[in-house]
């Protein structure tokens, strides 16, 4: 029987997909909320279209805020009911073995785009350093997402509060919040493009993608993509196996 490794709990899966859905919708609606030729990333047609769909910018804003509330509430639930899981996630995400991970970070993208030939052409060896539970690409995106999300949540709350409780003296805070909100969303979105490619399109990561539904990965995937984790898991007694 093929061995399988347990990678994601139900909570993880839940929060990942909730996050993904909220993110997508927040991004779609959020982009529609920016309407100013100096700053709108897609041009004026996009906010105009979105506002037409939603029956005006006011409705769009309400929808965006409501989504934000759902999104934040999801995380609150996640942390409240899965505190240890969350802790594990953060610990994995933020533990970086600098020389190893840096090297990975340099080589992997080259390999993914230019192949081993590319690596060789650049005078680099084709062996890629082994990675743990997350590889450095996942870690860096995860880190950016966590920090970005925190900023987005906080600045989002500030902007909502601007309409519910803040006074004239705090408009500077609101104005800066807009900037940070915009910056965080933009940066995380840049990472998201890679993340979505890796997870949903890249053939190599397909088991990883599947695990985001089932929670499990096969040994082959574990061994090749997260060797350090695989080694550790393998060494630990009582690795759960599929029935």
């Amino acid at each position: 029987m093929e061995r399988r490794f347990y990678r994601h709990s139900r909570w993880d899966i839940f929060i990942h997909w909730l996050n993904a859905a909220c993110w997508l919708l927040l991004l779609v609606t959020g982009l529609g909320l920016i309407s100013n030729p100096d700053i709108d990333p897609l041009g004026g047609w996009y906010p105009a279209m979105l506002r037409a769909i939603f029956g005006g910018g006011a409705n769009l804003l309400i929808f965006h805020i409501a989504l934000g509330v759902v999104w934040i509430a999801g995380f609150v639930l996640y942390i409240a009911f899965n505190f240890r899981g969350a802790l594990f996630f953060l610990r994995e995400l933020f533990s970086v073995d600098l020389p190893r991970d840096a090297l990975w970070m340099v080589k992997k993208p080259i390999q993914m785009t230019l192949g081993d030939a590319g690596l060789r052409k650049l005078g680099l060896s084709t062996d890629i350093p082994d990675q743990g539970f997350y590889n450095m690409g996942q870690k860096s995106f995860g880190q950016a997402s966590v920090l970005g999300s925190l900023v987005l949540a906080v600045t989002g709350v500030v902007m909502v509060m601007s309409r519910t409780s803040l006074g004239e003296a705090q408009t500077g805070l609101v104005s800066w919040s807009i900037l940070l909100h915009y910056l965080s969303a933009g940066l995380v979105f840049a990472g998201l493009i890679i993340h979505v490619y890796m997870a949903a399109i890249s053939r190599d990561e397909r088991p990883g993608f599947r695990s985001m539904f089932t929670g499990w990965v096969d040994e082959n995937y574990a061994k090749h993509h997260h060797r350090l984790w695989w080694e550790k898991e393998r060494a630990v007694a009582g690795v759960r196996e599929e029935e």
């Binding site: 601007s162 933009g186 940066l187």
Partner: protein
């Protein structure tokens, strides 16, 4: 026909500074205590004996500019210039009260509404116009110094007045921020030195000058990277890594799928 441009044509030499317009506006628009949507400015009095004495009073409000710096400062388009009326409008449902537009107005025409917590300013009394009435300041003015209308409609009182005084129209503008205001003063008006330079708040400036291009580059780079990886994936057969390890099963499947996609 020309697009409408609602505007005010003001003979400020008729103004007696009675503040009727200010009071009327405050009531009509429920402007909170301490704030005003319109004003009467006073020139420095020339207190000379006999014929040299004088002072000038200048009624004003949002000038619904053609080049509105407030609109430029608004990230959400909650403040926008309505092409159907030429008015600079505020969508209260979309405004989040960041205050950018307030600093960006060279006329101080905007304030942050303390209870609604959004920007507020003259809207030529939208509610009154919906009832078929004129703006409150215009209707109430004792000396009829303020005239309101569509200056692109030649039959309007405002357009007629404007046309009749074509060569002696004065617009109050700030030298550093000419917003092309749609408030036309007939002949000499004073004071002229009260405007301020429109101030684009730093966050907005950063977003426009640095963040937006920067993020476009970042997102573009990421997109290019993803495309490159996709390209490679499509051009190369199934991963050798897996094969090396004897996991034919998986490799075949992927290859099959690949073949399907290519087909």
């Amino acid at each position: 026909m020309n697009k409408p441009q609602y505007a005010m044509v003001i003979d400020s030499s008729r103004c007696i500074d009675c503040k009727g317009c200010v009071a009327s506006c405050k009531v009509a628009n429920k402007v909170p205590e301490g704030h005003f949507r319109n004003w009467v400015k006073q020139s420095a009095p020339v207190v000379a004996v006999g014929k040299g004495a004088g002072q000038h009073f200048q009624p004003g409000a949002c000038m619904h500019c053609d080049n509105p710096t407030c609109v430029q400062a608004c990230p959400t388009g909650a403040t926008w210039k309505d092409p159907t009326t030429g008015m600079v409008e505020i969508d209260r449902g979309l405004c989040i009260g960041c205050g950018n537009c307030i600093a960006a107005c060279p006329y101080g025409a905007r304030y942050r509404h303390a209870t609604m917590r959004v920007a507020d300013k003259c809207d030529y009394c939208a509610e009154r116009r919906a009832h078929g009435l004129g703006p409150a300041c215009v209707d109430t003015c004792p000396t009829k110094a303020r005239v309101f209308g569509d200056i692109n409609d030649p039959s309007s009182e405002a357009a007629i007045l404007l046309a009749a005084n074509q060569d002696r129209i004065v617009r109050v503008v700030n030298q550093k921020s000419d917003t092309k205001p749609n408030m036309y003063y007939i002949a000499a008006t004073a004071p002229l030195d009260w405007t301020v330079e429109a101030k684009m708040p730093t966050p907005m400036k950063l977003m426009a000058d640095a963040l937006t291009p920067g993020l476009r580059v970042a997102v573009g780079f990421a997109g290019l990277g993803a495309l490159a990886m996709l390209g490679r994936q499509l051009l190369t057969p199934a991963s050798k890594e897996h094969d090396e390890d004897g996991q034919n099963d998986q490799g075949e499947r992927v290859t099959e799928r690949n073949a399907e996609t290519e087909a």
